[in-house]
Symmetry: D2
Amino acid sequence: MPEASPIRWHLAHTTWFFETFVLRELQPDYRSPNEQFHYLFNSYYTTLGDPFPRPRRGLLSRPTVAEVWRYRQQVDEAVERELQRLQQDGELQHRSPASRESRAWESLSSVFQTGLQHEQQHQELMLTDIKHAFSCNPLYPTFDPSSARPGQTAAAGNRAAAAGNRGAAAVSDEPWYEDSGGIVSIGHAGEAFAYDNELPRHSVLLQPFRLARTVVTNGQFLEFIEAGGYACSEHWLDAGWQVVQQQKLSGPLYWVHRDGQWLEFTLAGLRPLDLAEPVCHVSFFEADAYARWRGCRLPSEAEWEHVASQWIDEPASYGTFADDRRWHPQALRDVASLQAGDGSPVTTGPRGLFGDVWEWTASPYLGYPGYRPPSGAIGEYNGKFMCNQFVLRGGSVATSRDHLRVTYRNFFPPDARWQFSGIRLAADP
Amino acid sequence: MPEASPIRWHLAHTTWFFETFVLRELQPDYRSPNEQFHYLFNSYYTTLGDPFPRPRRGLLSRPTVAEVWRYRQQVDEAVERELQRLQQDGELQHRSPASRESRAWESLSSVFQTGLQHEQQHQELMLTDIKHAFSCNPLYPTFDPSSARPGQTAAAGNRAAAAGNRGAAAVSDEPWYEDSGGIVSIGHAGEAFAYDNELPRHSVLLQPFRLARTVVTNGQFLEFIEAGGYACSEHWLDAGWQVVQQQKLSGPLYWVHRDGQWLEFTLAGLRPLDLAEPVCHVSFFEADAYARWRGCRLPSEAEWEHVASQWIDEPASYGTFADDRRWHPQALRDVASLQAGDGSPVTTGPRGLFGDVWEWTASPYLGYPGYRPPSGAIGEYNGKFMCNQFVLRGGSVATSRDHLRVTYRNFFPPDARWQFSGIRLAADP
Amino acid sequence: MPEASPIRWHLAHTTWFFETFVLRELQPDYRSPNEQFHYLFNSYYTTLGDPFPRPRRGLLSRPTVAEVWRYRQQVDEAVERELQRLQQDGELQHRSPASRESRAWESLSSVFQTGLQHEQQHQELMLTDIKHAFSCNPLYPTFDPSSARPGQTAAAGNRAAAAGNRGAAAVSDEPWYEDSGGIVSIGHAGEAFAYDNELPRHSVLLQPFRLARTVVTNGQFLEFIEAGGYACSEHWLDAGWQVVQQQKLSGPLYWVHRDGQWLEFTLAGLRPLDLAEPVCHVSFFEADAYARWRGCRLPSEAEWEHVASQWIDEPASYGTFADDRRWHPQALRDVASLQAGDGSPVTTGPRGLFGDVWEWTASPYLGYPGYRPPSGAIGEYNGKFMCNQFVLRGGSVATSRDHLRVTYRNFFPPDARWQFSGIRLAADP
Amino acid sequence: MPEASPIRWHLAHTTWFFETFVLRELQPDYRSPNEQFHYLFNSYYTTLGDPFPRPRRGLLSRPTVAEVWRYRQQVDEAVERELQRLQQDGELQHRSPASRESRAWESLSSVFQTGLQHEQQHQELMLTDIKHAFSCNPLYPTFDPSSARPGQTAAAGNRAAAAGNRGAAAVSDEPWYEDSGGIVSIGHAGEAFAYDNELPRHSVLLQPFRLARTVVTNGQFLEFIEAGGYACSEHWLDAGWQVVQQQKLSGPLYWVHRDGQWLEFTLAGLRPLDLAEPVCHVSFFEADAYARWRGCRLPSEAEWEHVASQWIDEPASYGTFADDRRWHPQALRDVASLQAGDGSPVTTGPRGLFGDVWEWTASPYLGYPGYRPPSGAIGEYNGKFMCNQFVLRGGSVATSRDHLRVTYRNFFPPDARWQFSGIRLAADP
């Protein structure tokens, strides 16, 4: 897949970021361990020179993985030395606040934050890229066998799936969360780190709307397939229908239909489809067609953020993250087990807004009113892509928990499927 | 160009619309003069069967143009007979309001309106498709010599251009129209015809903003070119920069640089570029890059419609339409000549909002809140394309004046350039 | 189809040839009626400047057909005036053989011959290009209804087909013509016109071989299809199998399988497949796969020419040419009716070597030993294409009879199917 | 490059060959260590099921290299056990010649030979595939530093190049070897192993011809470049000129023009171009264009084999092979140093026919008269590709010396450049 990169490239590229934006900035006479890595591991910052073409990254058998690890170590050590030096200078800074070091520290701070966030993003991409590469391999290699569901066997899986399906029905008794809309504020506020695309915080006028309490399950999505969803153009956007036909799609990425049974490829290998798990690896087009077929729609990102910001302290709003090392969204029956002792629902809000699967919104990825990209190479990071992409919210099982914010905007083209992307429905009242 | 169609196809397709949605609906036993035209001249209504592939339309040397005219005449006559019959039945209807004919008349009415609007759209496309086809021909054929500017010769053109450039500067003395924003309403209201995508009328919250009083001229856009605008990635969206490089763009479609002079191909042939005319045949990407380079942005469609609806009765808001048969946007010095006798500006609002050039907005083409496409084939008309397209507003020199409304939403992919599309800047205060 | 051109282009291009190589050569101050035609109607002579791209020829709606006819008339008249002048000068020439006019006449003579041959080639291409364009049209337009088989109706066609099949069986009682090989001469000799690629005449060593007495019929080819020929890779060259899969081929071009019946599109319209007619519009790949499936092979061009040159005076060696205006190869029962009165076969040689269908040979198109292309633009005519093409021999129903020679080498890429190309088998004894 | 494969794939595929054609044949109940390797490491034998697509081989990060080595070891051991068993059975065979083992041994013998030859071919491809992969890497990694020319430094290289150029001139004093042609025999004879495409031995009629005594050097090819060879269509076949333009070619693969100096990437890294070395990594198109520009042509494979078979015992006919582990063709001055003590030339025949570079011939790759591919999967090996490829002769610096025969036919498409392919000219007397 042209969008994916080999792991060694991710490892070197995230180090390249610190080398380029920290070491080269602080040390005018900085000499890289290997000047050509500057070219090889640049990604898209065209203001820093033409990057090495992404689809050819797979060809780079050199530097070896060992050489990349050495490069990481060298840069890490140099960055740490620089930090110590700045820290010492910083102590001086209190006596001389306008010193050169003081200003350097200030401007570095946000670069550092960006570099760390950037590395977390690539950690997520490493998981999704490995999953895709392994999925192309008829051997269906297992990335992490320990992440398999406990006690999971094929037979158990089928039983669990049937049970899960019932479970999913149980938790969807009152499927909609109601919101009365109005003028609400979205976007990042405060001093903590956020990407430029989460700024500025601004007001939005919302009509009253409904948001589904849970994300769509495999079992629910399977009903769409069995009703001929992939064979009928009327559910689909024109551009989506073209993708369905050109790529001969008949289900989510990684679903395998074999001998009359549905299987799913996961980072724990190929295994029976669990009907109670959230559907994932669907494109915006699939999410939109599914919603249309159900007579619903996808939420706007303002609707999503407005609701999510109200339930941010509710434990039931959280599913699984990368920190849990389970590498696959968890069945909703598990969430249901969060029920209080008396059987009452644990929350009156939506469940699992954060984690498990990125939730496609109906919102094209655009700058917020008054948005201006930062100048320079860092400015290429987000604003350049505000065209023909759609926003996803909420993070996934491959996202680091402390990487996410309620204002966090992920974005991908509408046909992208290799992220852990799922569906939460919305509707007009 | 895969998007364009031959003229004979436009002629037959607009007739096919009436045959399919009027005659076949009213006459259960309707027999077409040629059943295969049903397949050939369907455009995208996939619920009516697979259409004949658009890029292959150019191959259809049969039916001949004469046969297509005969087909038009046959269908037109049948439709008129049907209208007369319904009119007579309609007189009965007053006595029997619930009659079958009464209901038929009602449902037909909107189909008829759609059919007529549909034909006007194709009239515009015929002009832009002819222009594109002629532009591929090194002979640069002239479509309508009578539409050339009066007294226009090459030498005069250059003088006029220089003068025009001064003129353009003159009218932009106070370039911005200010609006304080707030909660405003956009979208169509009332009983008159409108496309489904203009519905429902709804409220939008606008921040204060500025809208340019005039559209961008060739002279202004030339400054972007001469400043290296097409050679510098930083002004462009990533997707736009890819188009610039792949298609080796260096100026608007139809601009020709020859022997150190800029020429422009028009429906009156190839002629010197007039610097005072509105720039046209630019893509969304070009409009966006130009705006970014000027430190501005494109208006949202809500901003545009909110302003335009306030100046709808002002004569200076109107430029040239297809009714004027001039086939090219007119120089702003002509608009400036609308100045009142005492030299005071004719309007305190923006000039030329309607006509001359379609104005790209920053708004992706989406359904309005609460939008639901009509069911059936007519429903495929607009809603299917709400993805990866951008809205244009205001009509062009190729649009029929009575086809346009202030709520009218045109839409094209961001790289489309063969429509008469131009730029009006916006900015934050 | 990128290889095909519109009729108006053929008309203008053949005139362009005379304008470029006759008028411009003889008249140093020649002024074309339209200088840009020089660019538009050049085909591939890159030494004369970049030609207008072939796939875009279909876009040229100007010059109109009427303008092209006027151009033809103007050039024809100028050429005729030039010929008369040369003829008069030629009378002087007997008194002064080394005169400039004498030399001009001599060099012109071969250009003239080439121009006339070139026009005949384009006459053939006009037929095959019209056939292809009409075949893309679901109306299946009829080019020449008078060319339909006499008394042909659908029912009669089926009967004829069945009878034809028997007929075909009858004439193939002794299917092989035997040749003992040896050192033979092929290539053109003598003063008459021939293309450069037929030169020089040279010796070739042939092993003993067999050549089929008749070309393969539709009925015989249908057996290949029904035996799963298009579904089994083992009969095919690797490159051919890729074409079969990419283009989803299941039979010759223009065969249509509808409601359980095989039809064939011809220049007289769509009609039932006649099993006794020669199979045509097959590619080299199909011819080769068919031969392999039969346990045979295709003849080399040396084998073909050696046999054909021995039977050049035999009437039964000739089928239908363009002069017969029938536009489709004729059923072999017609050839069989050439039987002598006593029922003895009309010939002991192969039947129908010339006309009806071009016969694919196993020979890649290469220069003969000692071949050197002529210098200049004319030299680009044949030699440039001696790569990845295969030779066909014998002319077709679309070839002018006096265009063909026994040494004539036609050539097309191995996947080309839109010529009237068929199959004659060969084998080792 | 879609034609290249990763090294681990080569390693596994050559083992797969023995597993498939030896172990599975001999042991009806054979169980592979991993059944899916059968799919992964099949190359093109479509009769054994659809192979894993070649361009996706690079995606296979599993099995790991270690797993592939284990697979090789397992299969090698199983094959050796089988050989011992057969050998023991073979001793019985003398007493019972018609035994099942006897027949198995016989049929196995040719499979074994094929498997070993097949592995040698892949050893050559591993070198050329590694070279290509490394060349895509801006780091220009070195495969084998020990293979660099002795004492080679940049400065020394330039001096050597200049000297070499003179040396090259010296040995080309009498550049042509003359042959009188006639009826000659080519193709393999005798009991020793040969590929099916070298059979049957047969007679060919040759005109008198000249063959260059040496292959073309870098210095000679540079003259073609400097004379504008890559900018002038007239030297090129039409298909070759298209490749030049599409791929913007300006010299052989691996030549790098930097700061006014020509460098060449080799398996010993990037280094100054040595003008005395044979030009290599040119396509058929480049070889043909060069020959045309020199007023010469390429030899036919019959001409080449006829000459080579006469000089097979002459030491000067041999250059460098893989056995020499030098990985780059050697400068002709080295060959010149083979001169006899008295300064007389070491040979009156052509030099370096075998080894150093594969020599493109003018011959399309076809079956010899009477050629029939073997049946079954082995039969797919050669015959399937007899279309649009050209024959190369003589082996290269990457070929094992005992892999080559004077009748050996290598073949590649005319645009292939990543093999060690060079040029030897021929001409008519």
